[in-house]
Subunit: 419 residues, 2 copies
């Protein structure tokens, strides 16, 4: 049993939007145990779309299409699937009533074109759309299941989860779902992570795969099994093994972010923080304040971009400011101590460096970032040199600053005196 | 004459990565005058990939595939295209020498598998890869052109631009390229923009289409013509008409960003700025400092998240702080004046509000953002209420702050006294 996905819309073929629906559906089908063999994208063209449905239904036992369900003449998906299946479209009272209710709730009247959206393929099941007007639908024929869904992701995703996933599970009974856990880590280059877990990445079940984004790595562990609980046991065992090898770098799982994890620790311990940034230009503060409830522990951010501000507001000594244009360890430590004292917080975190593209000194090239953290038990400072664009350097530097903070919070957490 | 695009890779079908190559190639083909009728994604599977090539070559006169050119056994793209065309693969000395040079430059030795990457379809043209090892290639047969390119975008894009685009233009001589201009605007809801340019959006040539992202709108104007200069004349004429209707909101074109445009104005006039942020949490400073050279005018950012910091560092009066938890016009204006004075800049910009998801007051709900700007000629403040997630409110608020700044800089620019 395998599936094909069809993305419908001329705007996709024109390159005007990226097709995130196909990726979403691919990933979710994999999780519930369905293999996708092919995806196609076709425009709003009757013969090509009908042909694509025929080809897909000829090969796969599950076909899912998104897009082209709207009220206008170039929304052809339902008509083309009907033609490919050799079935008529019929006006569906229930689907129409759902749409009337949707309009009534919003104090609006349907237009004549909206009736078209209540045309359902004979024998098909309409899926109510809670977010927009166009219902989706599913049709069974000759042991095959075809589903068509609206194109906007915020309409497609809830409909897929609520209607399509249960329908697939009840139609194809032998699917083996995947159990998945992601470990999130940072502070180590990808190539080192690859070396440390090389043998584990060769495992066939559970599979272990690292994914990299700027400064962070996610290790995805996945296993499928028909035995209840067996996949979870396998994945949890592998996660324990990976944790034992990389424990100083793994800050969380799945939806955790560095900023949410440090926020949770600071909240639990009643700590507070202030941040002084030069090279990261506000990005550390932005990340920390993305976390709901961060005002409980985040008190102040200072983007000290000029030497005068570093001196007058944060008390960085002249000597440090003159050395390599204030890109040095003493400046970073002074900034961390200065902002901690100015804001009256338990922790001060600071960054200084050269984001580029121009600037830098012989000793401290573009890409250099110093991160310093100060708390009641002292200070520490680290230097890194990154390559990439100005925005890459800011991003890597901000992630590193949060990692240095997390590492210090984790270590101090192990010492009961510092709790 | 039309094209099909083939994306190759099991990781795409597993939903592990988003296929940005297909979008990039679609958009660029449109610009040079080629219509894309279909895109397909297939995994690293010999029979399905060969079948997909056969189908595409049966329908289209140009087929472009990306991915599956590496040294490992599951990199099958060249072999499958060769099979679909009925042509053999041959070892290509020139392509191999290019690869050896690439390795030598990096002080590395090719591995035995790398030789496979120098296998070029008989009669084909290898494309040198400047970024990685795998060359691309193009083959002509029966009036059709097939190109295969590496999967990583940083390898694919330069090869596409340098080799594939010129080859398409010289092969298919009758293409009518598009001339495109984007107008960038903000400060007006999408629905209002749609009303103001409704009649223009119905134009068949040039076409006029708005694209929306958080807080900003891009209006894309595009026309094609065989007459040299005619498309540019049509697009420029349409741009003038749109500018005449929306001039207070259009801040730039194409690659301009709000932060780059305000930076350019401040640099030209020798102005300097400091920012005090509450609700936007550092995002305004982050955006301003994303611009290369921003240290010339950006002096200081202050994220004043606690009332104590707003009072002691920025001099916001107690009365303003107590009213609606410091979310009010007086607080915003005090913050703008306070940070301007603290940093000794010509301009102060400030935000305060409730990002949510919890909090807010009866009068000032979650989503409320006040933006204030202060300069030598006075102050102004505006209030907005946005809906969306915490991160949406921060993003909308930061874009609005930069818009209010841009608008004030533009207006003051028209008054020679303020220059």
């Amino acid at each position: 049993m395998h599936a094909e996905i069809l993305s419908v819309g001329t705007e996709l073929l024109l390159g005007e939007i990226v097709d995130t629906n196909a990726q979403y559906i691919s990933a979710r089908l994999k999780e519930i145990g369905v293999s996708v063999y092919r995806r196609q994208t076709v425009g709003d063209n009757r013969s090509r779309l009908t042909g694509a449905f025929r080809e897909a239904l000829g090969r796969a036992s599950l076909v899912i299409a998104t897009g082209g369900l709207g009220p206008t003449d170039d929304d052809l998906t339902a008509a083309c699937l009907a033609e490919a299946l050799g079935l008529p479209l019929e006006f569906h009272e229930g689907a129409w009533e759902d749409m009337l209710e949707w309009f009534a709730l919003r104090g609006r009247e349907p237009s004549p074109g909206d009736r078209k959206q209540a045309m359902i393929i004979k024998g098909g099941i309409p899926f109510r759309n809670k977010v927009g007007t166009a219902p989706g639908q599913a049709v069974f024929k000759d042991g095959k299941l075809a589903c068509i869904l609206p194109g906007p992701p915020r309409e497609m995703i809830p409909m897929f989860e609520e209607h399509v996933v249960p329908l697939i599970k009840s139609t194809f009974m032998d699917l083996v779902p995947l159990y998945i856990k992601n470990l999130k880590l940072t502070g180590l280059p990808e190539v080192r992570v690859g070396e440390i877990i090389k043998d584990l990445m060769e495992s066939a079940s559970p599979t272990v795969a690292p994914y990299v984004s700027r400064g962070e790595i996610r290790i995805r562990i996945a296993a499928g099994s028909k035995e209840p609980g067996e996949a979870k046991r396998m994945v949890d065992g592998m996660a324990r093994e990976i944790r034992s090898r990389l424990k100083e770098y793994i800050y969380g799982e799945d939806d955790d972010t560095l900023e949410s994890v440090v926020g949770e620790i600071m909240t639990r311990r009643g700590l507070s923080i202030a941040v002084a940034e030069s090279v990261t230009g506000g990005l550390v503060a932005h990340k920390l304040t993305n976390v709901p409830g961060s005002s409980r522990y985040f008190k102040m951010g200072m983007v000290a971009y000029s030497p005068a501000i570093k001196a007058t507001c944060l008390g960085v000594p002249d000597e440090a400011l003159r050395k390599d244009e204030a890109v040095n360890a003493e400046t970073a430590v002074s900034m961390a101590l200065g902002v901690k004292s100015l804001a009256g917080t338990k922790i001060g975190l600071a960054t200084t460096g050269f984001a580029g593209p121009t600037g830098g000194t012989d000793k401290e090239p573009v890409g250099t970032v110093y991160v310093a953290v100060a708390d009641e038990s002292g200070t520490e400072v680290e230097r890194f040199v990154y390559s990439g664009s100005r925005i890459d350097v800011k991003e890597y530097g901000a992630v590193r600053a949060l990692y240095v903070l997390w590492r210090r919070l984790s270590r101090s957490g192990k010492n009961p005196e510092l709790k």
